[in-house]
């Protein structure tokens, strides 16, 4: 932690946790605090899709010169609730010949994976369930789990469309995982720490100290590449070849209905939130306020709680994902692979080399 001596080191404790510690004796307070943390993450994980589904439908609608949901609640705000209730009460169908265990296991895995990643995200100075010193590694490992869900769903459905979708998913997600890992490595290299909190703290200062700007020009390129790779990792348009409605009808979700479909749907949106949160943490200074270097304004910006900045930036990135999806046509499966292995990967390796060079020359102030 001595890497950035002149920077503020926020205490990792928050008032609620401290209060619990003063009220409850030692071993139980930790359990209670852990419980509280998990509960709040669960609340976040279940509320995020509700907000995002509404947002996606609204944003998509306005991109398409429509209004979107307008009936349920004010401007359709309760539409996701209505959708959720509908999905819960729908019959769950299992196709004949499907592998029952895997068929019902598959929807659980992606949701689990995205939930695991949430545990290491620093939402604010004092809001983080656990600050692993290998946080980036944990993120890569945990998000890799979601591939299993998609693959198993494709395999166990006993449907050729599902199988094609599953196989496409396997190829796509594994390829882009490499890209994402390389980009995370780049930030780890620049920050000198693999803890997500450490990465955020390494970006303290003005807005120009965020990695998107601090690593001159290359930072911006890396951010754009991160957006592209994570869009592919999320299976969202223009990389939605896994679901590819016009080709594979529904891809791996073809045979799913009711709540098991909802689980996939759910995970997709939590995943989108997680990916955007990672982009925020790695490139946009996480929970730090966008300080401009003007005394008055900076103090004003600093007065806003960190988690507000975090969510604002995250939703900004989410908007970019939606913008991508509702503008571009879909890539073909082989083009996607060519794009990953012949364009993205060399660029990422090049960026990594440049970063190494910058650090050796000590051109980046640490």
């Amino acid at each position: 932690m001595s890497v950035f001596p002149d920077k503020v080191l926020y205490p990792p404790n928050n008032p609620i946790g401290d209060l619990v510690r003063t009220l409850v004796p030692a071993p139980f307070s930790d359990v209670l605090n852990g419980g509280l943390a998990i509960f709040s993450l669960l609340a976040l994980a279940s509320l995020t899709p509700v907000v995002l589904i509404w947002l996606e439908r609204k944003v998509a609608a306005h991109f398409q010169a429509r209004l979107g949901p307008m009936r349920v609640g004010w401007h359709g705000t309760l539409q996701p609730v209505a959708d959720g209730i509908k999905l819960m009460f729908k019959e769950i169908l299992k196709p004949e010949g499907a592998d029952t265990f895997l068929f019902f296991l598959a929807p659980i895995l992606p949701a689990t994976a995205s939930f695991l990643v949430l545990t290491v995200l620093p939402f604010d100075h004092h809001l983080q369930v656990t600050d692993l010193n290998a946080g980036v590694l944990f993120v890569i490992a945990a998000s890799g789990l979601s591939i299993f869900g998609v693959l198993l769903a494709g395999w166990s459905s006993n449907n050729k469309y599902s199988l094609l979708g599953g196989i496409r998913a396997g190829a796509q997600m594994i390829s882009f995982e490499i890209s994402l890992a390389l980009l995370m490595l780049l930030i780890v290299l620049l920050s000198g720490t693999a803890s997500l909190r450490g990465i955020v703290l390494a970006q303290q200062g003005t807005i120009l100290d965020w990695w998107i700007f601090k690593f001159p020009l290359f930072g911006l390129v890396a951010f754009i590449l991160f957006l592209i790779s994570s869009t592919a990792e999320l299976n969202r348009g223009p990389f939605d070849i896994v679901e590819a409605e016009s080709e594979l009808t529904g891809g791996f979700t073809t045979e799913y209905s009711g709540i098991s479909f909802a689980m996939f749907f759910f995970a997709e949106f939590v995943n989108m939130f997680v990916a955007a949160a990672l982009a925020t943490t790695l490139f946009l200074g996480g929970f730090l306020a966008p300080q401009m270097g003007w005394g008055m304004l900076d103090r004003l910006l600093d007065a806003v709680p960190g988690f507000v900045w975090f969510f604002a930036k995250t939703y900004g990135v989410i908007f970019i994902y939606m913008w991508f999806r509702w503008t571009f046509p879909r890539l073909r499966v082989d083009q996607l692979m060519v794009f990953e292995w012949k364009v993205l990967l060399p660029m990422h390796l090049f960026l990594l080399a440049v970063a190494g060079f910058f650090i050796t020359m000590e051109w980046i102030p640490l």
Binding site: H62, F63, A65, L67, W323, T327, F328
Partner: protein, 175 residues
């Protein structure tokens, strides 16, 4: 990029010309292709975001809510109706031309005789179920007794509800 110029060319009359593609795949080196491809994507995003930010571009209607303001054009073709004047009288003479004109057997004109023995309309059966709204019956009617109505909400829960009697003795308003 050169859409305007290609349009200018094609506007000139004369023999058909070989068309030059409005834009070709970014040719040239690997890097040039990536950059020009990236720019093409940004342009597309620029277009869609103008729609997002401008609420005036919304073109859809909120249908059941705007029923009151939703007007059909005068020639709109929906459920067949019989024209009636202020006294409620119609001018159908039960000639049966519409029945003959209909391609689907939608109309049955049942006649009866009045006290003086003249043929008159007994029952005008219109099977909305079978109607393709082709307007041929209205066109053939020499008296303008029937028109295509403006009511476009024609769904019903019961098939029988879609067999209408446009005119019958029971319907006749007692003037």
């Amino acid at each position: 990029m050169n859409t305007t110029s290609s349009r200018q060319n094609s506007m000139t009359p004369g023999s058909p010309q070989k068309q030059t593609p409005a834009s070709s795949l970014p040719s040239g080196s690997y890097f040039k292709r990536i950059v020009s491809g990236f720019i093409s994507l940004l342009r597309g995003m620029g277009l869609t975001v103008t729609y997002l930010t401008d609420p005036r571009t919304v073109v859809t209607q909120q249908y059941p809510e705007n029923r009151a303001t939703l007007l059909m054009t005068p020639r709109f073709r929906a459920c067949l109706t019989m024209v009636r004047d202020e006294t409620g009288a119609h001018c159908c003479t039960a000639c049966g031309l519409c029945e003959k004109a209909c391609p689907n057997g939608t109309i049955s004109v049942l006649t009866m005789k009045d006290l003086s023995g003249r043929k008159m309309l007994g029952k005008y059966v219109y099977r909305l179920l079978q109607c393709t709204f082709c307007n041929l019956c209205v066109e053939t009617c020499p008296f303008g007794a029937i028109v295509m109505g403006q009511n476009y909400e024609l769904a019903a829960y019961d098939r029988d509800a879609l067999v209408l009697t446009l005119h019958s003795e029971e319907d006749e308003p007692h003037a």
